[in-house]
């Protein structure tokens, strides 16, 4: 089932208030990040409830990637609180943030970032293997996700033989295979043509909904943003509601 439009402000408010009652998988408060004396994120607030998708838009250099990295725990923050999947990650060491990321977050990037040495199937099963699952079971689940995303036939291929759209679908399978409560995607369609971009964006949002994950997508593409429940614009270090 495809989601075809963005939510109204009333709907967005409803989902936000719903998030207050049930703990949201992503809850950020007063987040500040500075780089070389320049405030990239300034007292930023964000809540993304379970099963909802949020698009972050903004010009290049506005801090979208920095925000996603802060949510994923890839980088530390200067001030503020970042709670992801029930864990306050700002106080954690880099190693503990990495462990948390492995368990609770699925990540997608503009160029897929598959491990070139591993086959498609191995790339997808990697998070499960690292979480302790036996190889056969991990492969079975990976194959299942590849089938859901219609790339099962590529299971034995290596990344360098795939097209851009195929790479992104495999990357999506890898991000979802361990059914994380949070899915973060940084320009996931940036390297794709319009058809593939729409396909991948819908798969991303729908898969998140199916697994109940909170999805955050940084994008320049209005079409991709339109697939999400809520669109926020990052400007001067803080987020504001926007419409296409």
């Amino acid at each position: 089932m495809m989601h075809t439009g963005h939510m109204t402000e009333a709907q967005a408010g409803a989902s936000t208030s719903q998030g207050v009652d049930a703990p949201a998988p992503i809850a950020v408060g007063g987040l500040c990040v500075e780089l070389s004396g320049r405030k990239l994120l300034d007292n930023l607030e964000l809540r993304v409830p379970k099963g909802k998708a949020v698009a972050i838009m903004g010009p290049s250099g506005s801090g979208k990637t920095t925000l996603l990295h802060a949510l994923a725990g890839i980088r530390s923050v200067d001030r503020g609180k970042v709670v992801v999947a029930g864990t306050e990650i700002t106080g954690l060491s880099a190693a503990r943030r990495a462990r948390h990321r492995l368990r609770s977050i699925g990540l997608m990037f503009q160029f897929g970032e598959l491990i070139p040495e591993l086959s498609v199937e191995e790339n997808v099963s990697l998070p499960l293997r690292l979480l302790g699952m036996a190889r056969a079971e991990a492969t079975r689940m990976a194959t299942g996700w590849l089938a859901k995303l219609d790339v099962e036939r590529l299971a034995r291929e290596f990344p360098e033989t795939l097209s851009g759209g195929e790479v992104q679908r495999v990357a999506l399978a890898r991000a979802l295979v361990h059914e994380p409560p949070v899915l973060i995607a940084d320009e996931p369609t940036g390297s794709l043509d319009e058809t593939n971009a729409q396909l991948v964006a819908r798969l991303l949002v729908d898969s998140g909904k199916r697994t109940g994950a909170a999805v955050v997508i940084a994008t320049h593409d209005p079409m991709v943003a339109s697939c999400t429940d809520r669109i926020l614009r990052l400007r001067s270090g803080s987020l504001s509601e926007t419409h296409l």
């Binding site: 990295h69 994923a72 890839i74 980088r75 880099a94 190693a95 990495a98 462990r99 948390h100 990321r101 492995l102 368990r103 977050i105 990540l107 990037f109 970032e113 598959l114 491990i115 070139p116 040495e117 591993l118 990697l126 998070p127 293997r129 690292l130 979480l131 302790g132 699952m133 890898r174």
Partner: protein, 709 residues
């Protein structure tokens, strides 16, 4: 909770190590080469230690226990020396104690030689067969010692038993002994060889400077090959939730996996080959079969050590990778004083070594050189960056591109040159060290009209003097003693002016010998001219057999005296002025070989770094080519980048090395600065750089042509 980390990491490492693209083949080649060379150095080092240990054990086996009393003595031994080709070698005079039924036999000897006979080492036997003067002292018919009795298979060594009716038992220079196998250098043992003091600290420092640092550089160069791809893999894994430690360990395992075949091949090959070798390569030191053998445990430890070394190199190069995605335009690292600390510390230590005298000063200079070499790669890129800033100001688009690349990618630009810089420093400093250790004091120049030899013997009898005189016609042989007096040391020579008249030298019955003849005799007995008074007269209490043999100019005098003494005296030692010449330190061949091996390692590292530099710059080249920059322009940019960074870094290396060479020479004492050698090294390094830069440009062209196909 994470249980699959190890198998997943190893599996991924195996995959990473087994990729088939051209650059991965290059990485594999570099890693296998570095691993194999490190393994070879490792097994050679362990084999050298095994060899020293075996030599020490054999030396200990032939070291006598001194008897506490005459009654306990089973054998008498008097360590004496002979000379061949300017080098002394030990000759042990042995005589079974009277009434002792259980005479200990030295190791390597089947039976005690008969009176007047010798048992000699195989090398001495070979010499005797080829040289009549040696054969006169050690007949070819002598029994030959087996390898258990020799410290080194090629050493010159002999046991000689006095003839019938001559005994060394009562000579004060002989020792009653109760057996063999005493530990070396402990009270109660008799030292029969030169003391076995190995200069541990200088050898360790030289080993670090000549082998460990070049090997480290080679290893770091190999593990850094195709590093951007490895760094990208680390980044993706880090984003996926791998901890940094785990991602780094993946790199370490991958480097180990790739280098393992080479390491195993070398270690197993050496393990099988070493027991049969009779020379330690590359130094060529003689060894008995089995001396160089590795035990299975040692072989395993060598392999484990080398793998650990490769892994640590991979970890060291992974540690500096940033986890954030690199921004376009390269990473600018700020210069801080902390980065210059190792180089400054090295400089300070060298200066301190110049102030402190003696061996400590020399060790400090060497330690300073090592520290400086380790610190140089950290500061050099900042110099390259400054150079880039200057070049890009010049009015040409070629200058702009070349300068900007040097500025923005200073570390990458300086890396390929690091091996050659280290080579420049190593060779120039090495020229200084070799000048110091290779400068030998010439023998003292004596009076051209007089040659003299000191002769001493055991169990001296007055008839010995008569016999020796009989064997040396045309010469003067006389006893002498040296005594102290308020006017200074005095040598009393038991000869008259009439005896000396045959030599046509100035002589006065009242004043004794003066002038050049006196100086010649003084030098012959180890005194500088002008200090020793030489008087003529009867020598009282002459029981220690100290004789002086004097002759007019005669080239074969030393040989003649040795032959005569060998035929007439017991335990003779003959010393001439030529024997006072300084002989080369046994460390010199090790040092020369160390410099050669170090230079080869650095050249290999330089090759790997250069090829990797070309591979890494390919994407930039393609970008410029896509923009329409003509091929000729591209070549100019590349040549300028390579040549300017090379000229700059090699210039620094040569300047630093030359200063270090001068420092070493100044510390080393009375040695001339080897300007000719330095000039040749400068020329060689500059030519190598020019050649490397040309090859670099050609390689890039070939690579681009291949990509375009």
């Amino acid at each position: 909770m994470i249980t699959n980390v190890l198998p997943v990491t190893v599996g991924l490492a195996l995959r990473a190590g087994a990729r088939f693209k051209a650059e991965h083949a290059w990485r594999r080649t570099a890693l296998i080469l570095a691993g194999s060379v490190a393994a070879l150095l490792s097994v050679l080092t362990v084999s050298a230690v095994e060899l020293f240990s075996a030599e020490d054990a054999r030396e200990s086996a032939r070291t006598p226990y001194i008897a506490d009393s005459k009654a306990e003595a089973k054998l008498y031994i008097a360590p004496r020396a002979d000379v061949w080709n300017g080098a002394q070698f030990p000759v042990l005079w042995i005589e079974p104690a009277e009434g002792s039924g259980d005479v200990p036999i030295p190791p390597g000897m089947k039976t005690m030689p008969a009176p007047g006979e010798a048992v000699i080492s195989p090398e001495l036997h070979r010499l005797a067969a080829a040289n009549s003067t040696i054969a006169a002292r050690y007949p070819v018919s002598s029994a030959v010692l087996s390898s258990e009795g020799l410290k080194v298979p090629t050493e010159l060594f002999a046991y000689v038993r006095p003839p019938v009716a001559r005994s060394i038992a009562n000579d004060q220079r002989s020792h009653g002994i109760r057996g063999f196998g005493a530990p070396l250098g402990v009270p109660g043992s008799l030292t029969i060889d030169a003391p076995n003091a190995r200069p541990t600290l200088p050898m360790l420092l030289a080993g670090i400077a000549l082998l460990a640092i070049p090997m480290l550089l080679l290893s770091l160069a190999a593990v850094s090959t195709v590093a951007p791809e490895r760094d990208r893999r680390m980044q993706i894994l880090s984003w996926m939730g791998w901890s940094r430690r785990r991602a780094v360990s993946l790199n370490a395992i991958e480097a180990m996996v790739v280098s393992t075949p080479g390491i195993l091949l070398v270690v197993i090959g050496w393990y099988l080959l070493a027991p049969h070798l009779t020379r330690l390569p590359p130094i060529g030191r003689a060894a008995n079969p089995g001396d160089l053998s590795l035990s299975p445990v040692s072989a395993l430890l060598c392999a484990a050590f080398t793998l650990t070394f490769v892994a640590l190199s991979a970890i060291a190069t992974s540690a500096r990778t940033k986890s954030d995605r690199p921004r376009p335009g390269g990473i600018q690292t700020a210069f801080s004083v902390m980065r210059a600390v190792p180089a400054l510390l090295g400089t300070g230590t060298i200066l301190l070594g110049l102030v402190v005298s003696g061996k400590t000063g020399g060790a400090l200079v060497l330690a300073g050189v090592v520290t400086f070499l380790l610190g140089l790669p950290v500061v050099l890129p900042f110099g390259v960056r400054s150079l880039g800033r200057q070049i890009q100001r010049l009015p040409s688009v070629v200058m702009l591109f070349a300068g900007r690349t040097l500025e923005r990618n200073a570390i990458r630009s300086a890396r390929p040159m690091m091996g050659l810089v280290a080579l420049a420093i190593l060779l120039t400093t090495g020229a200084g060290f070799l000048a110091v250790v290779g400068t030998l004091d010439p023998p003292p120049v004596g009076d051209q009209r007089l040659v003299a030899a000191r002769v001493s013997s055991l169990a001296y009898q007055p008839q010995d003097l008569v016999n020796l005189r009989g064997k040396l016609p045309g010469s003067v042989v006389a006893p002498y003693t040296i005594t102290g007096s308020p006017e200074g040391p005095e040598l009393r020579l038991g000869a008259t002016c009439a005896d000396l008249a045959v030599l046509q030298i100035e002589c006065s019955p009242d004043k004794g010998l003066v002038g050049s003849a006196a100086d010649g005799i003084a030098r012959a007995v180890g005194f500088p001219p002008g200090i020793l008074t030489i008087v003529l007269g009867k020598v009282a209490n002459h029981s220690n057999g100290q004789l002086l043999a004097l002759s007019g100019p005669r080239e074969t005098f030393a040989q003649d005296v040795r032959a005569a003494a060998g035929a007439t005296l017991v335990g003779p030692v003959v010393m001439t002025l030529d024997d006072q010449a300084q002989v080369e330190s046994p460390l010199v061949p090790w040092l020369i070989m160390g410099f050669l091996v170090g230079a080869v390692l650095l050249l290999l590292a330089a090759c790997i770094l250069l090829v990797d530099g070309v591979l890494r710059a390919e994407s930039e080249r393609q970008l410029l080519a896509k923009l329409g920059v003509p091929n000729r322009k591209l070549m100019q940019i590349e040549a300028l980048q390579l040549l300017s960074s090379y000229t700059f870094t090699a210039g620094i290396g040569l300047a630093v090395g030359t200063v270090l060479c001068i420092v070493v020479v100044l510390v080393g004492g009375d040695t001339a600065i080897p300007f000719a050698q330095l000039g040749r090294i400068w020329l060689a390094i500059l030519l190598i750089g020019l050649l490397a830069s040309c090859l670099g440009v050609i390689f890039r062209q070939l690579l681009s042509a291949k990509e375009a196909m």
